[in-house]
């Protein structure tokens, strides 16, 4: 059953976008990405070291995965826009995961600058996927300026706290005119499944795979969870109710 994720006219079979950071080593990263089934992998853009210039791990990933550069760590729209432009030149992609951080400890998005930078990048021809607050109004503003998707946070980046406000995520999913990719906070497979069940179109996972005891196995677990959650969403869950409803027939009960 074909059920592709479509962002800006591009189809993906996998609904899991994976990060490439924090893995114990390169081979584990490659194996975990393979196990996760991800087709798109995020990368940062950083100054090269002038002392010890060496190959980048993107040399390993670039031919196998679609690389989604981010603007992680940027705190001003100006720096984020320049980072996106450098990424476009380095990777020959006009896609960018736009991050604009308003608090270096919490890594919470700065919505005001985010909307401003998104607007400008869309005008410059970028396909913008912004990491944003789990707030329907922010998400709507980002869609209004032309973002190709929105990436609301489940909880703080790297926290593994899961989806702290599922009602807000569900609300965003029900109203968003563009795909919703849950970003940040996923700790384990059930969090990824929950995101999909709430109606997210995809999830973005880095730390939960990279820092798991066995990242390769967790990559496989996340793949199964995303697929399971998506299927459950499409299947339609039963409504919750306060009382029991027997599943076995009531007629012909032995001894009655």
């Amino acid at each position: 059953m074909a059920d592709p994720l479509v962002i800006a006219g591009t189809s993906f079979t996998s609904r899991l976008i994976a990060g490439s950071a924090r893995f114990p080593n390169q081979q584990v990263m490659l194996d975990a990405l393979e196990a996760s089934g991800a087709e798109m992998v995020t990368a940062s853009i950083r100054r090269i070291s002038l002392e010890g210039y060496s190959g980048s791990l993107i040399d390993l990933l670039g031919d196998k995965y679609r690389i989604l550069p981010n603007t992680a760590g940027c705190v001003t729209a100006r720096d984020a826009i320049l980072t996106a432009e450098l990424a476009r030149e380095a990777l020959e992609t006009n896609w960018v995961k736009l991050e604009l951080i308003g608090d270096r400890e919490l890594l919470y998005p700065d919505v005001e600058q985010l909307v401003h930078a998104a607007d400008e990048l869309v005008r410059k021809g970028f396909v913008v996927l912004p990491y944003c607050n789990e707030d329907p109004v922010s998400c709507q503003k980002l869609a209004d300026v032309g973002c190709a998707a929105v990436m609301p946070l489940g909880s703080l980046i790297g926290s593994g706290m899961g989806i702290v406000n599922p009602a807000a995520i569900e609300l965003i999913c029900s109203r968003s005119p563009v795909p919703v990719v849950l970003d940040a906070g996923i700790g384990t497979a059930s969090d990824a499944a929950q995101a999909m069940e709430l109606g997210c179109d995809a999830v973005m996972i880095d730390t939960a795979i990279a820092k798991a005891h066995d990242p390769v196995r967790m990559g496989a677990a996340m793949r199964a969870a995303v697929e399971g959650g998506r299927l459950a969403r499409l299947a339609g869950r039963i409504p919750k109710q306060r009382f029991a409803e027997p599943s076995s027939p009531q007629l012909g009960l032995v001894g009655s």
């Binding site: 990060g19 940062s44 853009i45 320049l82």
Partner: protein
Amino acid sequence: MQLRINGKDTELTAVTVAELLAEQGIDPAARFLAVAVNGSVVRRAEWLTAPLAAGDSVEIVRPFQGG
């Protein structure tokens, strides 16, 4: 002349982006490189000719692992 390269003041003789990369021991044919001068990206096709002036601020970047 003095240039600011990746946030560090450096004394160089290079007068183009291509010469600057060579002087820093960076292969300009390497994949996934990007350069900005004074906040504007210099496209790869312009590296041979793009001039540098004293005091210019140069960023040389490439992709790294990220989330």
